[in-house]
C-alpha cells in the first residue's frame, strides 16, 4: 500500500482532536484509508435518537477523487437505497478536493435532516414519501427504532 498522504494523516488527526458533534470516524488499524463512521440522527428528523453505522473508504486518488461512503445500518430514506448507497452530489459530480471527510459526513447528516424525494435513489421509498409523507416518516421512525439503536 502506498504511503499515506499527509492530508489523510492530518484529517484523521483533526477528526480525533476536533470531533464533529454527533459524528465519529475512526480508521481501521489495518487500513488507515478505511473508516468506521457513526452518525447520530439529527434532532427533529425521523432519525432522531438513532445511531447509524457507515463505512468510509478513501481511494488512492483522494483527495482528487471523493471518498466512498455507505450506510451499514438499514435506513428508510429516499436518497439511500437498500444497500446503503447514498445519493449525494458532493460524493459524485460536485466533489472537490477542497472537501474533506468531515464535510462529507456533515453533508450526510444534513441529508438525513432533509430528505429529497425529488432526486431519489430508492424509488419505492421516494414514491411513498411523496404520496404519504406522514406514513413514510412513521416507517422511518420505526426503522430507526428497530435498527439504529446504540449497541450497548
Amino acid at each position: 500500500m502506498a504511503s499515506l498522504p499527509k492530508r489523510i494523516i492530518k484529517e484523521t488527526e483533526r477528526l480525533v482532536s476536533d470531533p464533529v458533534p454527533g459524528i465519529t470516524a475512526e480508521p481501521h488499524d489495518d487500513n488507515l484509508r478505511y473508516f468506521s463512521v457513526t452518525i447520530e440522527g439529527p434532532e427533529g428528523s425521523p432519525y432522531e435518537h438513532g445511531i447509524f453505522d457507515l463505512e468510509l473508504f478513501l481511494p488512492d486518488d483522494y483527495p482528487m477523487e471523493s471518498p466512498k461512503v455507505r450506510f451499514l445500518t438499514k435506513i428508510y430514506h429516499p436518497n439511500i437505497d437498500r444497500l446503503g448507497r447514498i445519493c449525494l452530489d458532493v460524493l459524485k459530480t460536485n466533489w472537490s478536493p477542497a472537501l474533506q471527510i468531515r464535510t462529507v459526513l456533515l453533508s450526510i447528516q444534513a441529508l438525513l435532516a432533509s430528505p429529497n424525494p425529488n432526486d431519489p435513489l430508492a424509488n419505492d421509498v421516494a414514491e411513498d414519501w411523496i404520496k404519504n409523507e406522514t406514513g413514510a416518516i412513521a416507517t422511518a421512525k420505526e426503522w430507526t427504532q428497530k435498527y439504529a439503536q446504540a449497541k450497548e
Binding site: K6, P63, M64
Partner: protein, 1172 residues
C-alpha cells in the same frame, strides 16, 4: 722467385699450416714453428706496426740477388724457398753469409724433415684436406684453446719475426683523425683475378680495396628509390698495393655490403692473400683472401653527425607530409651505410651479447662470463664451402632470416624489459623531491613530488634531486635498439702473423651499437643521454600544470651552457653570423622556457606561475599577438630575460605561416621570426595532443620550434588512433622512432595488419621510458589513492516537456523519422548523414527549449552548418508561434489583472505580508509565499496542489472548476506573487507554458539550493551557446535580482573578458548565488572551477567523455566538497536514447582499433538506435 717448386712450396705450406695448427702446436723446434702458424691464429702483433716485409717474388733489390747467387754457390742443393727464408732472417745480420750458412747447417735436419713432410702432404693432398675438415669438426670448441697456446708463443720465442714468407704488405698508417682501430671480425672471400699475372701471388700479400666509381656521378650510383642501379662489384676493386693496379674483384655479395663502408673513416678493411693457385694467374682465376674488418675510433665518436642527418630526414618529412619521403643523395648514402653495417655484422657473425638476468637494467657488466664472444669459428668452418658459389646464396638467405629474427627478438626483449618498468610499483617507488621553498611556494602532493623527481631525472638534473642518486642505485634505461657486443680477440691476419705489440689503448671488453641508426658507442648508451624531456601524461586533474611549474622553477635555466653556444649569443652584434646559421644553430635562449598552451589556459598558466613563484627575478611573460617587437632580443640580449614565455598554439601557427611565406621568397633574414628565431632552453606543450595530427599546420609549426629540453603535457596522449602518438614522439625527437619509416614499420604497419599486440607492445616500449602516467585511481605505497577527491554524485533528472514543446517535438520527430526510414530503405543512410544530423539537432534543441529553434546564432557551431532543410519550415514556425501566442494571450487575457490584484491584495495581504492560509487541497498551512497560486476567483492553493488538480481534471476530461467556489478556472488564469527588490509583493500571472521544462526545473533547483546553502556557486553546462543566452534571460527574470549573479562564458568572449568572468565568478559571496553559464566548447578544457560543487548539465553530449570533461572542471584536485551534478533529460525523447548511446560508447570504448568501416557501421547503428 720464379721456379715451379716455389709455387708448390707455397701451396704445400698452406695446407701444412692448416694441418698443424689444428693438430699439433707443441713443436719446440724453431724452424717448424715457422711453418705451423695457422692462417687465422698466430702471434698477436702490433696492427699499427709498419710492416716492411719483402716478398721474394718481388725482391728486386741488389742485396738479395747477391745473397741468392752467393748462397746457391756455397750450398748448391739449397732451395729457393730456403734462400728466401734465410735472407729474411739474416739480411740485417752483420755477417750475413756466415750466419746464414751456420744456421742452415745447424738446423738442416729440421729443415729437411720439414721439406720431407711437405712432400708427403703434397702427395696426399686430397686426404689432407679431408683431415683438416675432420680436425676442425673434431675440435670445434677448442678454438680458443689453440688460440691461447698460439698466443703464448711469442713469449717463448720473443725474438722471432716472420720476414720472408709473406708477400708484400703496404705499410699502413692510420689517418690522423683516427685514434685507434680495433678488430671486429674476419671473413674469407674468394676474389676473381681481373688481370693476368705472370707470377703467382705470394701467401700473405696485402691488398687494398679501392672504391673506384670512375666517371660515374655520385648521385647516379643510387637510383631515386635508393636501390643500387648497378652491382657494386664494378666499383669495388682489389688493388695490388705495390703496383697500385687493379688485380682482382670481390664477389658481388661482399662488395655490395662493403661498398658503402669504403673510404670512410669508420671502417678499415684489410685484405690478405691466403691462398692462390701456385701458377700464373689468368683472368677469372680464384684467389682466397682474408678480409679483416676493423672498427675505428671515428665510428665511436661520430654518432652525433649521423644523428643530425637523421633529423634532417624527419624534418623534411614534415615539410611535405603528403609526399612520399624523398631523400637526398646524402641521406640515401647514409641509409645504405646503416644497412651495410647491419649486413657486415651479420657477415662477420658478430653476435650481440644477451645478459641473462634480463634486463637492460643492470648497470654493471657482471655477466662477462655469460657473454657470447664474437665467434670466428663459423667463418672458419665455412672457409672452404664459401668457395662454392651455391653456398654463398644459401648463406645470404641465412643472413636475411637472421636479420628478421633479430627484429622479433627485439620485440620480445622490449616486452621483457618494459614489463618491469610498467608496473605501478616502479612508478610508486620513485623517490620524492620537494621543491625549494624559496623558489616554489606551493606545496606539492606526494605523487607530484615523485613526478618532479622523474622529470628532473629526465632532464638529467641530478643535483636537484631530493635524494642521493648513488645510494639510490639509479636505473639506467637502455634503448632496446642498442645492443651489446663483445670485442673479439684480434684474429686479423696481420696481428697473428706479424704483430706482437698490443697497441689498443683501451681495455673495454664490450662495445654497443645501434644497428638501426648505425651509431656506435663504447660506453653503455643511456636513453636519457639523448633525450631531455618526455611526456607527462597524468590523468586530467592531477596537476600537470603545477608539476611543470615546479620543474621550471627548480631548474629555471641552463646552468652549464655548452661552450660553443655562448659564442653565438654573446656576440649579438655579429648579425651576419647569426643569420647565416641554419636553424640548428639558432641563438640559445638559455634562460627561457617556452610554454605553448591552448588560448583558454593562457591566463590560468600566468596566474599559477605568479602564485607559485617565490623569486622576484623570475618572471613570466605572455607572448600574444606581437606584443613583443623582437622576441630574440628580449630573450638573448636582455640581462634578465623572462623565465617563462607563454604563448598559444595559434600564435605559433601564425608565426610559422608567416615564416614559411618569407622563406618561400627566400629571404634569409626570415629565419629570425619571433618564436622561431631562438632555441629555447625548454619547450612545454600543454594539452600536447593538439599536435597529434601530422598534416595539421599547428603541428608542423610546433615541430619546428627548437628547444634543448622538450616536454609534452597531456592527459590523453592517444585520442583516436595509435598514430596520434607519432607526432609527440617526433616532437621529442626520440630516436629512432621519430623517423617515419621506423614508426611505420614497427607501429603503423603491424597495427594495420591487426597485430595489435605487437604494435601496442612497441608503443609501450617507446612511451614507457619517456612518459609518466598516473591515474586518479592509482594507489600509493600505503594503499591510499593518489588523489582523494570528494564523492561525486551524478543524478539524471527526467522531465516532461510542456505542451507547446511536445507539440513541436512531435512535429519534428515525424519529419526526422520519415527521412531516416527513407535512408534505411534506400540504403544510403550515411549519404543523408548530414541531413539526419540536422534533424537530430533540431530534436535536441526542441528538448532544450523551442526558442532555440528560432535562433541562428553564428557562434553556435552546431547551428551554423544547418541549412534550411526543413521543407515546410512554415508550419513549424506556426507551431512555435502558436506556443508563444498562448503566452502572449495570457498577458492580454489578464486585462482584469487589476481587479484580481485588488481581490488578492485585500484578501491575503496584510501590510504587504501574505497571511497564513491553509491550502484547501493539502490542508497544510501556511502556504509558502513563493509557492502560492491564486485562481481567478481569488482562492489560493499550493502551486503543486493546484497544478496536480488541474492535471487530474484534464486527464479525467472533467471541467476545471475552482475546488472551493466551483467557478470555472483555467491553467492560464492563475496568478502568483512576485517579490521585487524591496520585498514588495505584486501579483503577476502564473505562466507555465513559456518556460521549457528544463529551465523550469533548473529554476526550482537553483531556488532550493540557495535556500539550503546560500553563497554556493553553480555551473550550468550546455553545448548550445544560444541556449546559454536563453538561460541567461530566463534566469534573470525568474530569480531574485538582488541575490543572483549570472556569468556567461562562451566563445564570444575575448581572452581578457574570459579571465575577468572567471575571476569575478570565483569570488565567494554568501549573499549571492553566482551562476556560471559555461559552454564547454569554449572553455571545456583545462578550466579549474573547484570553487563550485554543484553543476547542471542541461543537455546530453554524444560522447560521454565530453561530459566527463565537463564534470572534471569541478571534480578535480582542489575540490573539498562532495560534488553533485544534475543532468536534465526529457523522458521519452531523443535525449533518453542519447543516454543509451553514451552507455554503449562507454562500454565499447571510443578510440582504439577501429577501422573506418566499423566506425561507419556504428554510426548507422547509433542513428537506428535513435529512431527505433
Amino acid at each position: 722467385m720464379s721456379g715451379d717448386g716455389g709455387e708448390d712450396n707455397i701451396k704445400r705450406r698452406f695446407f701444412k699450416d692448416e694441418l698443424e695448427s689444428s693438430v699439433d702446436n707443441s713443436s719446440t723446434i724453431d724452424i717448424s714453428f715457422d711453418k705451423k702458424d695457422s692462417i687465422l691464429f698466430g702471434n698477436s702483433s702490433n696492427m699499427m706496426k709498419v710492416e716492411e716485409d719483402q716478398d721474394n717474388t718481388q725482391f728486386t733489390d741488389e742485396k738479395f740477388k747477391e745473397f741468392q747467387v752467393i748462397l746457391s754457390g756455397m750450398l748448391p742443393d739449397i732451395e729457393n724457398d730456403l734462400i728466401n727464408d734465410l735472407y729474411k732472417r739474416f739480411k740485417d745480420h752483420d755477417n750475413l753469409y756466415d750466419a746464414a750458412v751456420e744456421f742452415y747447417f745447424s738446423k738442416q735436419e729440421v729443415l729437411e724433415h720439414k721439406v720431407y713432410e711437405e712432400n708427403i702432404i703434397q702427395i696426399e693432398e686430397e686426404d689432407e684436406e679431408e683431415n683438416r675438415q675432420k680436425n676442425i669438426d673434431q675440435y670445434p670448441s677448442s678454438i680458443s684453446e689453440i688460440h691461447n697456446s698460439s698466443q703464448e708463443m711469442p713469449n717463448v720465442y720473443p725474438l722471432r719475426k716472420r720476414r720472408k714468407e709473406y708477400g708484400f704488405r703496404e705499410s699502413k698508417q692510420l689517418k690522423k683523425s683516427i685514434d685507434w682501430k680495433r678488430f671486429i671480425g674476419a671473413y674469407q672471400v674468394n676474389a676473381m683475378i681481373t688481370r693476368p699475372m705472370l707470377k703467382p701471388l705470394q701467401y700473405g700479400t696485402g691488398f687494398k680495396i679501392v672504391k673506384d666509381i670512375g666517371k660515374q656521378q655520385r648521385n647516379k650510383i643510387y637510383s631515386s628509390s635508393g636501390k643500387n642501379n648497378l652491382s657494386m662489384s664494378s666499383f669495388v676493386k682489389i688493388y695490388d698495393s705495390q703496383t697500385n693496379r687493379e688485380v682482382a674483384k670481390l664477389p658481388e655479395h661482399i662488395s655490395d655490403i662493403i661498398f658503402p663502408l669504403l673510404e670512410r673513416d669508420e671502417f678499415i678493411f684489410d685484405l690478405t692473400l691466403i691462398y692462390s693457385e701456385p701458377r700464373r694467374l689468368r683472368i677469372g682465376d680464384n684467389i682466397v683472401l682474408q678480409l679483416d674488418v676493423f672498427l675505428t675510433s671515428t665510428l665511436f665518436s661520430q654518432g652525433k653527425d649521423i644523428n643530425i642527418s637523421q633529423n634532417n630526414i624527419t624534418k623534411q618529412a614534415f615539410a611535405f607530409p603528403n609526399m612520399k619521403l624523398s631523400e637526398t643523395i646524402t641521406e640515401i648514402e647514409n641509409r645504405e651505410y646503416q644497412t651495410a653495417i647491419v649486413k657486415i655484422f651479420s657477415l662477420l657473425n658478430v653476435i650481440e651479447v644477451i645478459d641473462e638476468n634480463v634486463s637492460f637494467l643492470d648497470s654493471d657488466d657482471k655477466n662477462e662470463d655469460s657473454a657470447i664472444i664474437i665467434d670466428l669459428e663459423g667463418n672458419d668452418g665455412t672457409t672452404n664451402t664459401d668457395i662454392d658459389n651455391s653456398n654463398i646464396v644459401v648463406r645470404d638467405n641465412i643472413e636475411s632470416s637472421q636479420l628478421s629474427q633479430g627484429n622479433e627478438l627485439n620485440i620480445n626483449q622490449i616486452n621483457a624489459f618494459y614489463k618491469v618498468v610498467q608496473s605501478d610499483n616502479s612508478i610508486l617507488k620513485i623517490p620524492e623531491t620537494t621543491p625549494d621553498k624559496t623558489k616554489f611556494k606551493y606545496s606539492l602532493r606526494r605523487y607530484q613530488k615523485q613526478g618532479l623527481t622523474w622529470m628532473l631525472k629526465q632532464e638529467q638534473e641530478f643535483s636537484k634531486l631530493g635524494y642521493d642518486i648513488e645510494r639510490e642505485g639509479q636505473v639506467d634505461v637502455v634503448n632496446p635498439f642498442w645492443k651489446k657486443y663483445k670485442w673479439p680477440k684480434d684474429m686479423s691476419w696481420e696481428n697473428q702473423k706479424i704483430g706482437t705489440e698490443k697497441d689498443v689503448t683501451f681495455e673495454a671488453n664490450y662495445f654497443y651499437s645501434n644497428l638501426y641508426t648505425g651509431k656506435f658507442a663504447i660506453e653503455r648508451p643511456i636513453m636519457r643521454s639523448t633525450l631531455k624531456g618526455g611526456i607527462l601524461a597524468d590523468e586530467m586533474g592531477l596537476g600537470k600544470t603545477i608539476s611543470a611549474l615546479a620543474l621550471i622553477l627548480t631548474v629555471p635555466y641552463h646552468k652549464d651552457m655548452p661552450l660553443e653556444i655562448p659564442d653565438l649569443s654573446s656576440q649579438p652584434n655579429n648579425k651576419l653570423n647569426i643569420s647565416s646559421h641554419v636553424s640548428q644553430n639558432l641563438p640559445y635562449a638559455s634562460k627561457t622556457t617556452l610554454v605553448v598552451v591552448p588560448m583558454s589556459l593562457l591566463t590560468q598558466w600566468y596566474e599559477e606561475f605568479n602564485s607559485v613563484n617565490a623569486k622576484d627575478e623570475l618572471k613570466c611573460e605572455i607572448y600574444y599577438g606581437g606584443n613583443v617587437s623582437s622576441l630574440k632580443s628580449l630573450l638573448i640580449r636582455n640581462k634578465n630575460p623572462p623565465t617563462v614565455v607563454l604563448t598559444t598554439y595559434g600564435i605559433v601557427q601564425n608565426e610559422w605561416i608567416k615564416l614559411s611565406k618569407v622563406t618561400s621568397t627566400s629571404t634569409p633574414s626570415g629565419k629570425n621570426l619571433g618564436l622561431f628565431s631562438v632555441k629555447f632552453f625548454r619547450i612545454i606543450l600543454d594539452e600536447g595532443h593538439i599536435i597529434r595530427n601530422r598534416s595539421n599546420v599547428t603541428s608542423k609549426a610546433v615541430l619546428n620550434l627548437s628547444g634543448e629540453r622538450k616536454w609534452v603535457l597531456t592527459g590523453t596522449p592517444i585520442i583516436n588512433r595509435i598514430d596520434d602518438l607519432y607526432n609527440l614522439i617526433n616532437f621529442l625527437n626520440i630516436e629512432p622512432w621519430s623517423q617515419v619509416r621506423f614508426w611505420k614499420n614497427f607501429v603503423t604497419i603491424p597495427f594495420e595488419q591487426k597485430e595489435f599486440k605487437k604494435a601496442f607492445n612497441i608503443v609501450n616500449s617507446i612511451i614507457e621510458p619517456i612518459s609518466l602516467r598516473r591515474t586518479k585511481q592509482m594507489k600509493d605505497t600505503n594503499g591510499e589513492p593518489l588523489v582523494k577527491l570528494p564523492a561525486i554524485e551524478v543524478l539524471i533528472e527526467k522531465l516532461n516537456m510542456n505542451e507547446p514543446q511536445s507539440d513541436v517535438y512531435n512535429y519534428l520527430l515525424q519529419g526526422a523519422e520519415q527521412s531516416v526510414r527513407k535512408g534505411i530503405q534506400q540504403g544510403n543512410l550515411l549519404k543523408k548523414y548530414s541531413t539526419i544530423l540536422v534533424h537530430i539537432l533540431r530534436l535536441r534543441q526542441a528538448c532544450c527549449d523551442i526558442q532555440l529553434l528560432n535562433k541562428s546564432d553564428d557562434s553556435d557551431e552546431d547551428l551554423r552548418d544547418v541549412s534550411p532543410i526543413l521543407e515546410d519550415a512554415n508550419s513549424l514556425t506556426k507551431l512555435i508561434h502558436k506556443s508563444s501566442e498562448t503566452s502572449e494571450s495570457l498577458s492580454i487575457n489578464s486585462s482584469n489583472k487589476q481587479t484580481i490584484n485588488e481581490i488578492i491584495t485585500t484578501k491575503y495581504l496584510i501590510n504587504n505580508k501574505f497571511i497564513e492560509v491553509e491550502c484547501f487541497i493539502c490542508i497544510q498551512e501556511p502556504i509558502n509565499v513563493m509557492n502560492v497560486v491564486f485562481t481567478q476567483c481569488g482562492h489560493c492553493f499550493c502551486e503543486d496542489c493546484i497544478l496536480s488538480y488541474i492535471k487530474y481534471q484534464i486527464d479525467k476530461k472533467s471541467d476545471l472548476k475552482c475546488p472551493i467556489c466551483r467557478e470555472e478556472i483555467s491553467k492560464s488564469s492563475l496568478y502568483r506573487f512576485k517579490i521585487d527588490d524591496e520585498n514588495i509583493l505584486t501579483v503577476i500571472p502564473y505562466i507555465t507554458s513559456s518556460k521549457s521544462a528544463k529551465i523550469e526545473a533548473l529554476i526550482v533547483h537553483l531556488g532550493r539550493l540557495f535556500e539550503k546553502s546560500p553563497g554556493e556557486q553553480v555551473v550550468v553546462f550546455s553545448q548550445f551557446s544560444s541556449y546559454l543566452d536563453i538561460l541567461e534571460k530566463e534566469l534573470m527574470q525568474a530569480l531574485p535580482k538582488n541575490t543572483t549573479e549570472i556569468y556567461k562564458f562562451d566563445g564570444k568572449l575575448s581572452l581578457k573578458e574570459r579571465s575577468n568572468v572567471l575571476q569575478q565568478f570565483k569570488i565567494k559571496s554568501l549573499e549571492k548565488q553566482k551562476i556560471l553559464l559555461l559552454s564547454l566548447k569554449a572553455g571545456g578544457v583545462g578550466l579549474n572551477l573547484t570553487c563550485c560543487s554543484h553543476a547542471f548539465i542541461m543537455d546530453p553530449w554524444w560522447s560521454p567523455s565530453m561530459e566527463d570533461q565537463a564534470v572534471d572542471r569541478i571534480h578535480r584536485i582542489g575540490q573539498k566538497n562532495p560534488v553533485t551534478v544534475i543532468k536534465f533529460i526529457i523522458s521519452n525523447t531523443i535525449e533518453e536514447k542519447m543516454l543509451r548511446i553514451q552507455d554503449r560508447k562507454r562500454s565499447i570504448g571510443e578510440a582504439m582499433d577501429v577501422t573506418e568501416d566499423t566506425r561507419r557501421q556504428r554510426r548507422i547503428e547509433e542513428i537506428q538506435m535513435l529512431f527505433e
